[in-house]
């Protein structure tokens, strides 16, 4: 277990902001978590009510002793979180999960590809690239212009933001993958977003032999790696996989890895996409 966490820390909600049409941007004060957070890491929040499992949300931005969350109201837990009053303390565990790995060559050109709320994994990565003095392009995709979030915060690093919308209501008309195909291949790719997009991104990267890492989501139980509820199939031999021997009767040709503890970041080359 690394020395930089995870911590069980009460986080005080210092600011809540509604972003129409349906997003929330919350700022929470939690010094230990804020100090330790790295790209693609998440926190697990214990919300008031009878929820059996904590809500996992990506750490979006970090400033001083606060971090922020960017999310949408999906179901009961996100609705409960959105309803909390400023000043409320929420029990958080974090930062959890691994992080994106920066390119070893300073000159490698990185492209960050975010679909929808996948942008939540990208701010810390952008900061890390910026602090390392590296160059990057950020591709942001959404169904339409009003569903684009996160640009305000991402802008501060000065990286070009390349916007794509399915309906063309802002920027390039089409998906981030279509946009990617229209550009010169980057040196390294980082992705976060809905499964369909990530699958296409991995296929693109693998086809072009580009190093690519993506941050995944799954239904979480413990968020800590103990319940084995959040596994994804990975290539046998992938260092993040279980590496179990195989039972003779096993017909599946992959290993599995826990998204919460072995990920959330995996290499495109290691992921196995089931039909």
């Amino acid at each position: 277990m690394s020395q930089s966490g995870p911590y069980l820390e009460p986080a005080t909600l210092v600011r809540r902001e509604f972003l129409p049409p349906g997003f929330w941007y919350l700022t929470l004060r939690a010094p230990q978590i804020a100090a330790a957070a790295k790209s693609a890491q998440f926190v697990a929040l214990d919300l008031p009510g009878t929820f059996m499992v904590r809500l996992p949300l990506g750490i979006y931005t970090v400033q001083d002793d606060t971090f922020s969350l960017l999310f949408q109201e999906w179901g009961e837990r996100t609705r409960r979180l959105a309803s909390l009053a400023e000043g409320t303390a929420v029990s958080c565990i974090g930062p959890l999960g691994n992080s994106f790995r920066l390119p070893e060559e300073r000159t490698t050109r990185a492209t960050l590809v975010a679909g929808g709320l996948g942008v939540a994994a990208m701010w810390l990565l952008a900061r890390e690239l910026h602090n390392a003095g590296m160059d990057a392009t950020i591709l942001l995709g959404a169904r339409s212009a009003n569903l684009l979030v996160g640009m305000r915060e991402l802008q501060i690093f000065g990286f070009p933001l390349d916007v794509c919308t399915d309906d063309g209501s802002s920027g390039f008309r089409g998906t981030v993958i279509q946009r990617l195909q229209a550009l010169a291949p980057p040196g390294v790719l980082y992705g976060c977003g809905p499964p369909g997009m990530l699958r296409a991104l991995c296929a693109y990267a693998n086809d072009h032999g580009i190093t690519c890492e993506v941050s995944l989501e799954e239904t979480f139980g413990c968020s800590l790696g103990t319940c084995w509820g959040c596994v994804v199939p990975v290539r046998r031999g992938c260092p993040q996989g279980t590496g179990y021997p195989r039972a003779e009767s096993e017909t599946r040709s992959f290993d599995v890895a826990r998204v919460c503890a072995d990920g959330t970041v995996f290499r495109a080359a290691d992921l196995v996409w089931q039909t």
Binding site: C227, W228, G229, P245, E250
Partner: protein, 325 residues
């Protein structure tokens, strides 16, 4: 020299419990399948104060487990279908078992199997590993399809497994019973008669949740095991009934999320309790529960935690420790 009356500090409450030949330092245990070896919880709680941690059930051969999704939230509950994922016995012995000596408390190893032979092989191999003080038998995992019934579903096949394992294992053997039976009493009794040193109950309750949007079960496996506070009244009832027909210790579990929940199990007749699902929300739940038990002992003037066992159950068949000794 002078005749001074020194005020005597009250003796510390004795939280230890005996499970067969094993002594646990406290009556609060981490339930199987929710804890690995406890490393992940290292910073978030103090595993050293637990009575024991129970390992995830180990099978003879490696298992990849079920497809995703494996988890669904339900009202006050959690439905899971992990499918006994695990490395299999050999890999476990070589790569996991040596690290057990670093676990800061006792370890209960859990064996699962699909035949009596598999149970015996696995349990015998776990006997004598570092820190392991008892072997739990997961004869009840509801997630895995077997030909016919689970072992825990009828008294005869349960007795067969327990007796066979007892012949080969020196550590205490603890079959873990499942709630999905018409009457838990003959099953619990059969476990005792076959030589079990204690019984654990309950394992998850079979359940199913449908995603109405997609008109499909949420879990890839369709059915799963229901755990968490939703099932607590079912679990307390099972302990209550079993405690009226067995004299061996009962490890009670199912939906414990705070101190009073654990006391319900002790009062119903459990000697110790285990906690699974609640760890996902509160990694320090074991410590909170332990403190609540200590407070209750103080409130009732008990020196030994065993005095709480069966307090609410007039038919409690186990040994009642003399109070206040």
């Amino acid at each position: 020299m002078a005749d001074v009356t020194v005020p005597q500090a009250a003796p510390a409450p004795d939280l230890s419990v005996r499970i067969g030949s094993a002594t646990l330092r406290a009556p609060v245990i981490a339930a199987s399948g929710c804890y690995n070896k406890g490393d992940e919880f290292g910073r978030l709680t103090d595993v050293g104060r637990y009575g024991a941690i129970t390992l995830k059930s180990i099978t003879r051969y490696p298992r990849l487990g079920n497809d995703m999704p494996r988890l669904a939230m339900t009202p006050a509950g959690l439905l899971n279908a992990i499918g006994l994922q695990g490395p299999g016995l050999d890999h476990f012995l070589h790569h996991v078992a040596p690290a057990l000596q670093d676990v800061p408390t006792a370890v209960i190893a859990s064996a699962a199997g699909f035949s009596v032979d598999e149970f015996v092989t696995v349990a015998a191999a776990l006997d004598g590993l570092p820190n392991v003080v008892a072997i739990e038998l997961d004869v009840s995992c509801p997630n895995v399809e077997r030909e016919g019934r689970c072992f825990a579903a009828d008294a005869a096949s349960l007795a067969q497994v327990v007796a066979a394992v007892k012949q080969r294992v020196r550590l205490p053997v603890i079959p873990k019973l499942m709630p999905n039976v018409t009457d838990i009493r003959p099953i619990a009794r059969a476990a005792q008669d076959a030589g079990a040193d204690a019984i654990s109950l309950i394992n998850a309750v079979r359940g199913l949740v449908i995603d109405v949007e997609r008109a499909q079960p949420v879990l890839a496996n369709a059915a799963g095991g229901l755990t968490g506070p939703a099932i607590r009244p079912i679990a307390v009832h099972a302990v209550w009934e079993a405690a009226q027909v067995v004299t061996i210790p009962i490890i009670g579990m199912g939906g414990i999320a705070e101190g009073t929940d654990a006391l319900e199990f002790l009062f119903a007749g459990a000697t110790a309790v285990a906690i699974g699902t609640a760890n996902f929300r509160r990694p320090d739940v074991h410590l909170r529960v332990l403190e609540a038990i200590e407070r209750e002992m103080f409130r009732r003037g008990c020196r030994r935690v065993g005095e709480l066992t069966g307090l609410a159950n007039p038919g409690f068949a186990g040994p009642r420790p003399a109070a206040g000794l």
